[in-house]
């Protein structure tokens, strides 16, 4: 290689190296910084520790954990907080970069708006309504709390609970949840919440049929058709077994 070529190459590479130090954000930064951090564009080490990366210890020098979601870094109340209730104080650890990425290029590789609820302290994790509004549909409007009975924290939608597996909400049972689940307690149910069934009438009907165990209705009845006997001791689900059960029930 000619000497002049070597010199030109060296000069160009040196110029690029200098530009990287003067304009680090443009030369090596993975995309624009979030609006609040744009003043730090030329000071990578305000957030990054060399060969370690962005460190939570550096975040908390400006963002006091007790104030996050409440006050700005200047100590002023936040005018429009992103969440209704501050929750950073209820996290199990101070790992800012587990959720936050300030460069646009890094954000692209993260699912935005996703929060790992495993980072919440156990007590806070069960209080969904502290941060989340209850859905406006008629089902959820009847419910308060106990979200975890139907939803899980890994995947909120779809709900894991399939009511028809236990009891089909057909015909006369298309009613308000609290009719059967008194005080929104979905661990229990009662068939005596409506005028159709009463302990006395149910007892009478079953004793007449020679059935002595009738305390757990859904063990045998999985829907409005009282002749559709599915469960019980045999757990028969086939048509013939259903008919046999119905006959036995009717007899």
């Amino acid at each position: 290689m000619k000497r002049i070529v070597k010199m030109v190459l060296a000069a160009n590479l040196l110029a690029i190296a200098l530009l990287a130090f003067v304009y680090p954000q443009q030369m090596v930064g993975p995309g624009k910084l979030v609006a609040g951090h744009q003043k730090l564009e030329a000071d990578c080490f305000a957030c990054h520790a060399p060969f370690i990366g962005a460190s939570s210890a550096r975040c908390v020098t400006c963002h006091k954990p007790a104030d996050v979601g409440r006050l700005t870094t200047a100590g002023q109340p936040i005018a429009k907080p992103l969440t209704a209730v501050p929750f950073h104080q209820k996290l199990i650890s101070q790992d800012c970069v587990a959720c936050h990425s300030d460069h646009a290029g890094v954000k692209r590789f993260r699912q935005q708006g996703r929060f790992d609820h495993a980072l919440l302290q156990e007590e806070a994790a069960g209080q969904c309504q502290e941060c989340h509004k209850s859905p406006a549909d008629s089902l959820h409007q009847q419910i308060s709390g106990n979200c975890g009975q139907c939803h899980n924290r890994q995947k909120w939608v779809p709900a894991t609970f399939e009511h028809n597996r236990y009891f089909a909400l057909d015909r006369n049972h298309d009613t308000r949840c609290v009719t059967c689940h008194v005080r929104n307690d979905y661990k229990r149910y009662s068939c005596y919440g409506c005028h159709e069934h009463s302990p006395a009438s149910i007892r009478r009907e079953h004793i007449e049929e020679g059935i002595s165990r009738f305390d757990n209705c859904v063990e045998c009845h999985r829907g409005a058709d009282k002749h559709d006997i599915r469960g019980g001791r045999g757990e028969g689900t086939g048509r013939r077994e259903n008919e046999r059960s119905r006959k036995k029930h009717d007899d």
Partner: protein
């Protein structure tokens, strides 16, 4: 330039370069389609290792090492550099951010083209011009007539030889820029 030189040498080169471009676009599309964009983020590592591995041929050619058949190492150099470049191109295409890594990518692209010229055009065109010259001589053409007949082939061959001379300087530029990108990643990446 004769039709033969175009069809037998320039066209394969164009196809090989086109295949690299098509494979890059296909890889990028598939990663986006399959929601595997994060894979592209890390493809730069195996790509770089393949390119570094391909340099064994250069060491052998310059007699820094004695082991290995030069012919096999050349084949390895061509394949590993092509595949490594493909991975780096997909890696680069996944995210379009800072200037330094893009300069490195452009330098790599020019380097790959330069390498392909070496592979597909230089050797074959040399053989082709030589063959043409011998054929014309066998037909009884005088030396000046032969030179006139192979003039455009010879001009092409000379141009290719000149082009190949930029292969090493461009590689040095590519290596320096890539090194800068790698150092910046090591420096700022969240290892903790």
């Amino acid at each position: 330039m004769t039709t033969s030189l175009w069809r037998r040498h320039v066209l394969p080169f164009t196809l090989l370069a086109g295949l690299l471009a098509a494979a890059t676009l296909a890889g990028d599309y598939l990663l986006h389609r399959l929601a595997l964009v994060w894979v592209g983020r890390y493809l730069g590592i195996p790509g770089t290792l393949l390119i570094i591995g391909s340099l064994i041929y250069s060491l052998r050619k310059r007699k820094y090492i004695a082991a290995g058949s030069p012919k096999s190492l050349l084949a390895l150099h061509e394949f590993a550099a092509w595949l490594g470049s493909l991975m780096v191109l997909i890696h680069a295409g996944i995210h379009f951010n800072a200037i330094l890594p893009w300069l490195a990518t452009v330098a790599m692209g020019v380097n790959v083209i330069s390498g392909m010229v070496g592979k597909l055009l230089l050797d074959r065109s040399r053989l082709h011009v030589q063959g043409q010259r011998e054929r014309f001589q066998l037909r009884g053409l005088s030396k000046s007539e032969v030179e006139q007949a192979v003039f455009w082939d010879a001009v092409t061959f000379d141009a290719m030889t000149q082009w190949r001379k930029v292969h090493i300087p461009i590689f040095i530029v590519f290596a320096a820029l890539a090194l800068g990108h790698i150092i910046s990643i090591l420096l700022f990446w969240g290892w903790a």
